[in-house]
Symmetry: C2
Subunit: 306 residues, 2 copies
Amino acid sequence: MSLRLTILGCHSATPRSNAHTSSQFLEINNDFFLIDCGEGTQAQLRKFKIKFSRIQRIFISHLHGDHFFGLIGLISTFSLLNRTTELHVYGPKGIKEIILLQLKLTKSWVEYPLYFHELSSPDSQLIFEDKKVEVFTIPLKHRIYTNGFLFKEKPLPRKLNMPAIVKYPEVKICDYQNLKNGKDFKTDDNKIIINAELTLDPPEILQYAYCSDTAYDENIVPLLKDIDLLYHESTFLEDRKDLAEKTKHATALQAAAIANKANVKQLILGHYSSRYKNLDLFLDEAKNEFANVALAEAGKEFKISN
Amino acid sequence: MSLRLTILGCHSATPRSNAHTSSQFLEINNDFFLIDCGEGTQAQLRKFKIKFSRIQRIFISHLHGDHFFGLIGLISTFSLLNRTTELHVYGPKGIKEIILLQLKLTKSWVEYPLYFHELSSPDSQLIFEDKKVEVFTIPLKHRIYTNGFLFKEKPLPRKLNMPAIVKYPEVKICDYQNLKNGKDFKTDDNKIIINAELTLDPPEILQYAYCSDTAYDENIVPLLKDIDLLYHESTFLEDRKDLAEKTKHATALQAAAIANKANVKQLILGHYSSRYKNLDLFLDEAKNEFANVALAEAGKEFKISN
């Protein structure tokens, strides 16, 4: 299985010609998700040649403009492109009213099925699942109601240990599914062969978490425990820790501290304030606390597989 | 006096990385206007180094996304930039509700005075005037309620004809303003010297009209009579005249016909459909009907003065 994350925009506050606001495209086991949708996201999707029709679900973290002002444009463009497949939007309460009012006043009702899943719980919730993937909210600490999102493969089936299986001729092909599901095997004379003798552990599941925008908050650490990839906002460096606290954002060092405590495999920094011209300073600062760290950058891809 | 128009975006329907939706910045006698505000307009303003604080009034032609989806972002950015001066928004009824709902739900009430002037009249109206400039609506024929805008210098004062004036020593400096305003001069012995003997005609006033989006409609010709500069949409070429009629847009040839009938000095084409890769075809087609025609292009400036 595999997970591919494409950064579409990773700058805070306002879009500029070379600094795009938050949006990411995530492919995980043939599910295609858009995470946040700042103004200009549809142009970024075109730039990086991501087919609009692939997007099935859009997750909006919070109702600050740099995270959702591009949503109405994208929803409208889907109409112009004659989309017929379902689109699901997950986001804070209010998002449905904003979109529907604009569709009404622009007289551009969409022809495709458009569903809103409005969020208001302060606790982590399972908000989507299919056969292979689950998505949970990660409650974040920001100036308004905000969720991060945890994208998680469902546990994979155990692997058949063929050299072991062939020693038991009574194990037939029709028994394989039960073995993959972890069941022990009972022979015709009621002898039990335990599952671990016939199968191998499955690959570890892939997990990606998106945490933006948020103040430093250790409460999220248990949700992030041992995951493969964490995007954690770092609007500021430690030089403006005061401003980070005031505006409920995090510094690069704080993002790294969360990554460290959660023992994630890789950290991605982003949501940079426009006051910083040299983004390498974010990397340098984070590395004091956590080694495997990368900078988000529009067009950059992160791929992992198991 | 002078007028400078900067094209920020001139493509129809959806923003792409190198095709920006409708927006123009107009400077006329120290008034600074934004006309339409498609998604991505604020990034275009930055790209072309137009200071956000200069924008005093925004005119929105109609509530199709490619003409106003960038407005909420720009209004929010003004807040982030600590704007204190008034902002006036002119546009179809509904625009206030769309913006205020988003400001409420994003919890980002603006600190600066924000005024909406909602339009619903089917007739041409004077919607703004100051000492030097008037703005009138131009009712257009589109799928939803749409206005173009006519930006018009106020009549300039007559010019003093000094060689003529010096022949009349009784005309004092304190009489000059009356002469400029067109009044005749009465001598001490009640003799009338007619104004035209002491003054010269003022320069012709500058006029610019923005007409997008619209079907071909000769009803607008009287409003455009003899103006200096006309932007008229040309979404299609004549090869898709059928589609232009169906979607209530115009072809390049039709835009040129309007320019010709109105006897304007220069025509600018824009609002191109993405189906056309070679925009020179628009120029070629329009030239069959009207000689002084130019293509709108992001970043292009049109300057006129009198």
